[in-house]
Symmetry: D2
Subunit: 346 residues, 4 copies
């Protein structure tokens, strides 16, 4: 199988390269990048120590194409790849939101390819495995949404919570990408923590859309959920930890509820390779470099609130690893192929 990466030079793109160069069942044959075209991949990225790949301006013919371009540009290149009969996994936001009006409101442009939205599958494998198997176009989830949705899916399916959901997320700086900005300048961001996106972050509608799908798939008695999402920038490179808060539907919280919810979570993710329900609060370091998501639900009896902590590596389960997981499903490979790397601790 021949695979390719459109825009290898950002952090999601180069992380795809790191994983795909060691994937035993596919061959990375083409990587593109505008300004880097003509250069050896390992000259730009010396950690890719033994590849002879040259960055090109245009994607070669491949069976599976990953796009790591920014939104809007990404859709354009994805269409080209689809026309060239590749199966396509888009890491941008272009095919995640099903409502083009919502897309326009948050991304400020008309959707570049609305006719392809119906066939796009939201690439959260744990929740969409069957549809991904046959998908031609996968919209790989955003990093924050991945952590929030995996953390809350069991609670919504079992109608454990109701009303407003608060997602307070803490992200490493690599989530802001490789493009230079004062916000990602070392001396500005080290020894510093800040909230951002307080007037609205583009991952909010994505989280709300997917959580409401889950809420609707429950018995439906609880009605739609409201989502308040506040991301924070943390002085570390990789990792997202989302702390999710929601009122318990059953009040007051019985003493046994804690253990019951833990068990419901375990059952929900039984058989999953990449989602683990933990017995202690998880840490982002536990998943650095790995495709694992750790989820820890806990009841606060004082306020009848369910608190769920969810941890991922934003570049792996939150981006490149999850995209490769989708590819494995699309190709009928064992889902963990090429993704078994353990977290890099300490």
């Amino acid at each position: 199988m021949r695979v390719g990466i459109i825009n290898v030079t950002g952090y999601a793109g180069v992380e795809l390269a790191r994983i795909l160069l060691r994937h035993p069942e596919v061959e990375l044959v083409s990587v593109t990048g505008r300004s880097a075209a003509g250069k050896k991949l390992r000259e730009i990225f010396p950690h890719l120590v033994d590849t002879e790949l040259i960055v090109t301006a245009e994607l070669d013919r491949v069976d599976v194409a990953f796009s790591a371009l920014p939104h809007k540009d990404s859709a354009v290149e994805c269409l080209k790849a689809l026309e060239a009969e590749a199966r396509v996994i888009d890491l941008s936001a272009d095919f995640r939101l099903t409502d083009t009006a919502v897309y326009k409101a948050w991304y400020g442009v008309d959707h570049p390819a609305p006719e392809h939205l119906p066939e796009a599958v939201y690439g959260l494998v744990e929740l969409q495995r069957e549809r991904i198997r046959t998908a031609r176009l996968v919209a790989s989830p955003g990093c924050y949404p991945t952590s929030a949705i995996l953390g809350l899916a069991p609670a919504l399916k079992h109608e454990l919570i109701e009303g407003q959901i608060i997602v307070d997320s803490k992200s490493g700086v690599s989530g802001a990408g490789r493009t230079l900005s004062l916000t990602t300048h070392f001396s500005e961001v080290n020894e510093n923590t800040q909230a951002y996106g307080l007037s609205g972050h583009r991952h909010q509608p994505e989280i709300a859309q997917e959580l409401n799908k889950l809420a609707a798939a429950g018995a439906g008695a609880r009605g739609p959920v409201e989502v308040l999402f506040v991301p924070h920038l943390i002085p570390m490179i990789r990792g997202i930890l989302s702390t999710c808060y929601a009122k318990l539907a059953e009040i007051p919280a019985r003493p046994e509820l804690q253990a019951e919810i833990r068990q419901l979570y375990r059952d929900f993710y039984a058989g999953e390779t990449f989602v683990k329900v933990t017995d202690a609060p998880p840490q982002t370091k536990h998943v650095a470099g790995s495709n694992t998501c750790l989820v820890y639900p806990v009841v606060d009896p004082r306020t009848n609130t369910l608190v769920v902590i969810s941890c991922i590596d934003n570049l792996v389960k939150g981006a490149a690893g999850q995209a490769v997981q989708s590819m494995n499903v699309m190709l009928g490979l064992p889902e963990a192929t090429g993704l078994r790397q353990l977290g890099l601790y300490p």
Copy 2:
């Protein structure tokens, strides 16, 4: 004026020394520490480059004594200092909680000096200035409570919010002190974020107590507030950023509400030297090394929620600086004396 520090060897204690050694109106004449007794202060702490103070086992006679001991031990030493006719500022939790049953529930021991609780004043100067002026015993607030209370006080006073309050705090590692533990071991905590205290953190009852005082001081129509507090450990040394969430009392949120609330906050803190209401989300780096608290209230109209971001340096406004601020008030000095150092940026 002669001042002294009981237990100078922890981070709060040595930060007191840093500030008091440069305070123009008092003289630091005595510093204690058990294992370090007999050593020169600047040999243990080379940044205190020009002091000749020797650490002793017992406090010398002073006019004002600061205690930076852990709870329980602190009360014992504070009593001794009171008996020696010093005025006392206790940085431990011993005199913060007014209810001894709550103290016992959270600290696991009987209160060591319940008879002194009535005279103890909670040392949050912005809210207790008049009582501090004449206090003999000040209970200096905890770091998390300082950030949460200053962030929420105007909203509670003006009854802008109701129901449950969530305080999601992010703290630098110095808040965990100088005592060794795996949780503060560099390789474990760098490039890592984690929640902790999920089964209950000792600052929760302190926050709840003070917020309910404020709620009761309002018109009282809203009733008591519930507080859910989740602290997180961030890979930085100094700084606390608290993100506070509470439902607006007035629903739906009118468009003008954002500006009105910002103005109410400004009016509330008008004239304060150390609390500033900002027009953009504040960052912990803005206050590193300074006694400033930055507060930023913002309305989320989608969920009718008030979000307040509050930033302090946990060792200054969250501990040593705030204690010196109380001392200045007690001594009738200008409140900012010795505390005018600007944040160390970048």
Copy 3:
């Protein structure tokens, strides 16, 4: 093949576990640890997400035993493993120094097993491959020596340098291990750089011994080398960057010398999987999590000095990865088996 780790609970031990759990040709069947005996490995180390191994007090029967104990204790356990007919790879210093008097001078104890020194092979595969193939006991090199020796070997072999060698090394904090100390306490070591070991560091005699072996293996005209080694502690977790300085033997430096030396280095390491000679100054981040050593020799014509920059991940090529590389050679496996993981960038 059954393999085991003696003392899995330190950073070198758990890094061995991370690598061996994913090694396709051996099975990790036994891990020991004193205080952790009886616990599940993945409870202590949640990044080892899917192993069911239990930590035990004693090593089970294995074909290859790795010891990650501190010196002296390590020799004792290595002997037991040898008696149990395992082949042994010792990551401690016990079998590195060939002279027991030097061992005693630097480690302060009599050598615990001098009779085994003759058969021990210094496990720097690139320089000792043939001897390792048949070794029963491998002394895996120290982290600093690995970086210094690989950086200087080509220069010594070709007699490019003479006289005194200065090795100024910068190490991440994980090199100081998992044992708690003020030196590795986050708030003390973050935003900080310091030199240490200025009165003599235990890796100095190891570097000197191995460099002198190389010097003696040259034509010998240059005589023995003197080594001045100064390590520094850097606020990062993984990585050693050694900057090595030595006078060029040929003075004054011809303009072509730079290119010639680069080529001699390339030739020396031609065919090596894990040592790469770079065209630009290497960075520790390029090798984080990988078994690669990057080497960059450069001539300073103003002072006729050869400067060599050498980078490794101290826990991989400087410890666990290198030990597994030795194991692969001992077992006749392709040398890179289980060690092909690329650096984790960014």
Copy 4:
């Protein structure tokens, strides 16, 4: 006294503002910055919490002008300020090198104001105090040269060393300034160490020039010194630690030499407020935010080498603080006025 800062928006400029806003004897009345002209200083830099200064395009009339512009541009503005009868302290390199040919070789441009070189005084107060007193134009030293020269001055004055000097420096990232670059992008530089400037760094000729002045001022028997300077980028914000190596003139090193040299260093810096000779290896954290330079000389008897460790905060003693120290001397103020802030530890 009215003082002003030309180009307040870089890290050296804003650090000058931080210090001068709290200086008790001068008033900061004017700050310039091109793109920021018209903005409030505290909007750009929220840590300067209580100033009402507006950034302007041109400097107002001042008694002392500091220029924090890049080289070449700086000279142009310094001349304007001199013409306006201000005394000028230039933090750029423009007036540091006395030889215009050397300037051109390293900075790639003709010197913009060679006629002013004779009157410019190199602003290392500890070595040039008398000349600074009456200077109209001070060339404030570079950060690396400050650490190297203060570390080596006593050794050169007393002719303790001879031959080649190696300066291996480790610098925090703020030294690279506030201008964006991939080298200072958080995810690239955190958890990373690298050498740079290996083909020659602009601070090398400055170090060499000043050390040779010192060598010439000795008895002169040793001749000129050669300097090999290799800077390294360390993942911290502030701080330079320079490790300096030089052969002892007296060989072999007598056992007493260590103590004698320590004493010579102490005597050399006796009476200095800002240079301290330490008894243990100093750490950059000890001087963060302060104007102190810590110096630690140690003899390596194995190689007859003097090793000197020298620590400063690159933005204070290495830039803004040192410039204010020069100003104090020029104005006849006590040298430490406004510079007594202790290091911010931890």
